[in-house]
Symmetry: C2
DNA sequence: AAAAATTTGGGTATAAATACCCAGTTCTCA
DNA sequence: TGAGAACTGGGTATTTATACCCAAATTTTT
């Protein structure tokens, strides 16, 4: 356990922060702004959740700034893995979207704090200090989400991993294509498209195409 | 005209860049990374398109880095205004989404280049130099969009400005609510919701709810 | 080779959205 | 105060999506 481990003074003197975000410029910006503060030191940068997980053990961050909207491995899945593999590390999630359901999912999967990406560096620092000192960071969005935490019938988030074909379907219907058009494009029967859509909705636990499109964007499925 | 104006050497020595983006951290990151290059100088930062427009005349940027997905005034509307008011300034648009229709709209409204936000600072610099030297910046995404420029029946983008009520409707249907639920929530008849949805689709020129949700996200309408 | 998952296709039924048409009331701004 | 926009409500019909049932062929994994 890291808490029992002897650490050199320079390591203990500041909060060790790891950043995972697929936007290089945002990542670098965050990094340089944080490093202007002496109490914080950025020890690791990753392009996505999978990369991050490979580095955590070696870099020993105290806090992880995690983008919720990454491709390859999304924020929720990464959070769940972090909780399992490195429960002592605090996870502060940043998202471009203020989505109550997503926030609740993150909390349930072990996130310690949440911030919108449209925020100031001061708020990020506040969040970092809070999770270090109190174990969690509560702001208005978090509170509202917590209040409704039992109202949202949330499925296990990482249970249903979408297949290649399903993601293909999602991309097309995000481009305003209807089932018949998707069937034509993919040379399959419209009934097959129906089935795929049904499976997709069940897997990600949404009610209709609106939910599918939102999910797609938040998980960086489109391109 | 600025090109006829005498400028002090220090002003002429580097490319003057203005940045408009609602994400402070991204903006600061971009700014500090660009300022590491001597050939480029960031002279202005804005939170949205409207703020930017107020500063352009005074700050005299050569190139504007414009986020496509801003609230208040979106990238397309800002681009159109820049073309009208400051045709000599080059506009390089950055977007979180690779959307062919959006790229075409931007080009038609006067953008000189396009980049995904998930890119490197080297690519941004490449874009800046290109628009300065050639007048435009072409990459793979732009080319593909240009190739289809006539296939896309694009309506005047800034023509239909959504009303408060319409945006309210959009927010609710982005939360997977169906017409009847929206009607209940807003204490109006379901026929009124129908009418709003119809008007929305016509204004933003999309085929169905999928297009509405995409539009909403790309224009930062949700919160 | 066996098991599991993916992809494919179908029947049937209802629920919901879309596409046109219509118009009165209210509100805002010039 | 007069014009235009916004918000409201309705008729009618068609198109699309959703829901829940079924299962065979193929691919991947174990």
């Amino acid at each position: 356990m890291r808490k029992d481990q002897t650490r050199t003074p320079d390591r203990r003197s500041s909060i060790r922060v790891a950043i995972a975000d697929n936007q290089t410029i945002f990542r670098k910006g965050m990094s340089s702004l944080l490093n202007e503060t002496e109490t914080v030191k950025v020890v690791s940068e990753s392009n996505n959740g999978r990369e991050l997980l490979l580095k955590v053990k070696k870099e020993e961050p105290d806090v992880i700034l995690l983008d919720a909207n990454m491709p390859v491995m999304c924020g929720i899945e990464t959070t769940a893995n972090l909780k399992k593999l490195h429960p002592e590390v605090k996870v502060l999630v940043l998202s471009a979207f203020n989505d109550r359901k997503q926030i609740i999912r993150l909390i349930k999967n072990g996130a310690h704090g949440f911030l919108l990406k449209d925020t100031s560096i001061e708020n990020v620092l506040e969040g970092i200090y809070a999770v270090m000192n109190n174990g969690y960071y509560l702001n208005k969005m978090m509170s509202e989400a917590m209040f409704n935490v039992n109202k949202v019938p949330l499925s296990p988030s990482s249970k249903g991993i979408l297949s290649i074909r399903e993601i293909e379907i999602i991309k097309l219907l995000s481009q305003e294509m209807k089932n018949a058009e998707i069937a034509d494009k993919l040379f399959i029967n419209i009934r097959t498209v129906h089935r795929h859509r049904e499976n997709i909705r069940i897997k990600i636990n949404v009610k209709n195409v609106s939910g599918i499109v939102m999910y797609a964007i938040k998980n960086n499925l489109l391109d």
